[in-house]
Symmetry: C2
Subunit: 236 residues, 2 copies
């Protein structure tokens, strides 16, 4: 066994790619999701709930039953979703609520999990969005949740955040990932401007295993794909 | 009657100051809060709930019963709270949840209310926090919620956000307000570095009534008090 990683959102499109990638490198991989990922060595299957603290309790008790007597090398949080809507949309509040639960609950819980179970010098990576670096009037709830994740990364990366010594916390900020769902709903788009999932998995594997390759602690790394070539560009 | 304003969080320290200030200028003032403000002309008293959409429904039905046949000149959202805690704190999730509900629920609902009831050229002002422009490791939930409000302001101020024509959306970003609660919990601090509530109320009254005095749409205006002198400084 080469190392140990938890993929939070391990049954989603990017999460499944990560699970498969790390498995192929002989890593112990656990998935946290509302559905099990059969490829993973262990699964934490969360019950959908409207109570964040209930989800916290369920997560911690289930994580403690699989992370026994060892620390994790990395926690990769790629849970999330997308919903549109502006301030005049009927679903404005409903969608803002959903975006919060999908992106921020998961990122905060992944941070807590990392504070408790990540090894010294380990990696926590969350998922933001390049769009949320500015206003997002057509998808307000989505932008708010991702902006919260960006600031969370800055907090968790700062001194006295409660994280293990020498650990690194960053976020990837994709534009559009090349997922089956995105192909279905944007079938006429130019896919060569979308980021392949494997490219992201490979990069996160590199950051996990080669500390020198990592962006600086607290980095918000934009993931930009142009004509089939993907760049990972820290913000600012 | 000089004009009409809704103060969201109208029973809090800053909210009460705003209600009194606008009342003294002969404005029609409605307060939205979980407690009534007896000075206000009308009160929307919200029932504490864990469901954002339930709060949305209650708010809209109660607002529609008091905002009848007219539009609002301003919606001033000063609801919010404070809680500390880093990623290793026991109350990390609980406090993050509370901060979200106090700051983001209110700001999103104030945005929706503005999209529906604000007059053309009206003012929506929300409340962020200067600290949340960077990482806030000792108060992670607070910083996340305020960063979400900052990005919300950018979204709501952008084109096609659903807001009335020519309206202005901004946020004030205080450091420390001179409230009874803050004096109680930080009794040895130098109060001359804190911002008096009246100073904020006066400035928001000015922005409401004199369009030329307003900061640019989408501004995050830092409220900085030094030796008793308060400056309102747009970020960047």
């Amino acid at each position: 066994m080469a190392g140990r990683v938890i993929v939070y959102g391990g049954k989603g499109a990017l999460g499944s790619s990560l699970v498969a990638f790390f498995k192929a490198k002989s890593w112990w991989v656990a998935s946290v999701d509302i559905f099990p990922n059969e490829e993973a060595d262990a699964n934490v299957v969360l019950t959908p709930t409207d109570s964040w603290t209930d989800q916290e309790k369920e997560l911690e008790s289930k994580v403690e039953s699989i992370v026994t007597g060892f620390k994790l090398d990395a926690v990769l949080c790629v849970a999330g979703g997308w919903a549109g809507g502006n301030a005049a949309s009927k679903a404005f509040v409903k969608n803002s609520d959903m975006m919060w639960k999908q992106s921020v609950w998961s990122s905060v819980l992944a941070s807590q999990l990392s504070a408790r179970h990540l090894t010294e010098g380990g990696l926590l990576c969350m998922t933001g969005a390049k769009a949320a670096l500015e206003g997002t009037p057509g998808m307000i709830g989505y932008g708010m949740a991702k902006a919260a994740v960006h600031q969370l990364v800055k907090s968790v990366a700062a001194d006295n955040s409660g994280m293990p010594k020498d650990s690194t916390t960053v976020a990837i900020l994709p534009v559009t990932l090349d997922t089956p769902m995105n192909r279905k709903f944007m079938s006429t788009a130019d896919f060569s401007q979308w980021t392949p999932l494997d490219t992201v998995s490979q990069k996160l594997f590199e950051w996990t295993t080669d500390k020198k390759s990592r962006p600086a602690n607290g980095s918000l790394v934009q993931v930009v794909t142009k004509d089939g070539v993907t760049s990972f560009v820290p913000t600012e």
